[in-house]
Symmetry: C2
């Protein structure tokens, strides 16, 4: 479960509520009408906030649509920080993601698949997501900063790529319980992928 620390002040709670309302309405509204073909104004009208307010809460139209993705990686970085990093790094990365998936709540498992479908349908959104992944990867590298930077960088790239492959296989059905197994399977295929020969 995600730690939902409620802010004390009423003002902050109110702001958080509009943030959630925007993110929540975004995935459903964009899901119904398409991300590219839905004007931002449609979202603003439905949530009843002004453009000014929206852009104080989110950087862009893409940003609000990808809230679920960002939440995942935020939790992932937290989990990674609280992990004793020993043994094969790939296992560290994998275990951290499995733990992260356990921590996400039910509502997230409702919004995340919707978000993935938005991404699959919109190249612009996909590019934005990939860029976000790149930032997360840089952040991971920064926190683990060791000697062999090239190999570390490569491993991080490989892991995130493997994660995205697992998501692609998960996408059609999006049964929450199946995702960990798919991720494990992808990770266990990494080595044999490298030694793949042609023809098969």
């Amino acid at each position: 479960m995600t730690t939902s620390d409620q802010p004390a002040t009423l003002r902050e709670r109110k702001k958080l509520r509009t943030r959630q309302a925007l993110a929540d309405t975004a995935v459903t509204l964009f899901g119904e009408r398409g991300f590219d073909s839905t004007p931002l104004d449609a979202l603003l009208e439905q949530v009843e906030v002004s453009r000014r307010t929206f852009f104080r809460n989110f950087r862009s139209k893409e940003d609000v649509a990808l809230t679920a993705v960002k939440q995942l990686w935020d939790v992932y970085l937290e989990v990674l920080d609280g992990t004793k990093k020993s043994g094969p790094l790939i296992d560290v990365f994998l275990d951290a993601m499995l733990t992260t998936l356990e921590r996400m709540d039910e509502d997230w498992y409702r919004r995340f698949p919707l978000t993935l479908r938005l991404i699959a349908d919109s190249p612009a959104l996909d590019g934005y997501t990939l860029r976000h992944c790149a930032e997360v990867q840089a952040e991971i590298a920064r926190r683990l900063d060791g000697q062999n930077r090239l190999e570390l960088r490569l491993l991080i790239e490989f892991f995130v790529a493997t994660w995205r492959c697992a998501l692609d296989e998960w996408l059609p059905d999006c049964v929450p319980g199946e995702l960990p197994a798919l991720l494990r399977r992808s990770c266990s295929s990494m080595n044999s992928a490298l030694s793949l020969s042609f023809p098969a």
Copy 2:
């Protein structure tokens, strides 16, 4: 050297010239004033074409800035098609890229580093590039479509990621002759990256 097949008709040559002028001026102009902070109008004014004409030649402002990147991958796909695909697939991918690098002409080696710096300075451009890479990867997968799709997909992801890592190391100096060696080194680090342990 890139195959510069000149179109017979005068009209097509003219159109091609404006295309090249736009792409060429774009990298230098954006390089001087920054991609995000340079209005498209500045480019149009310098090349003396209307917006209408520009958007018939390029999909977006990002598109014209990334011409060199697209050219690289276009050639890469050609080379890959003309390669006898046998043995370890990773070597096939690597060799194809080495061949591709040999085929690019001098002017490309002037524009490509400029483009990389643009990308490094602009998140939006970076996202667009990553998205383009994803499309290329899908295209590669389509052409090799074999049995074990997951592992093939993984390998392609890994290779392109490794290529991008090599580019990052190449970026500071951008000496054309050094790129192949950097790419070889990155590729030869792939296996050890997977078995990386912590602490180092």
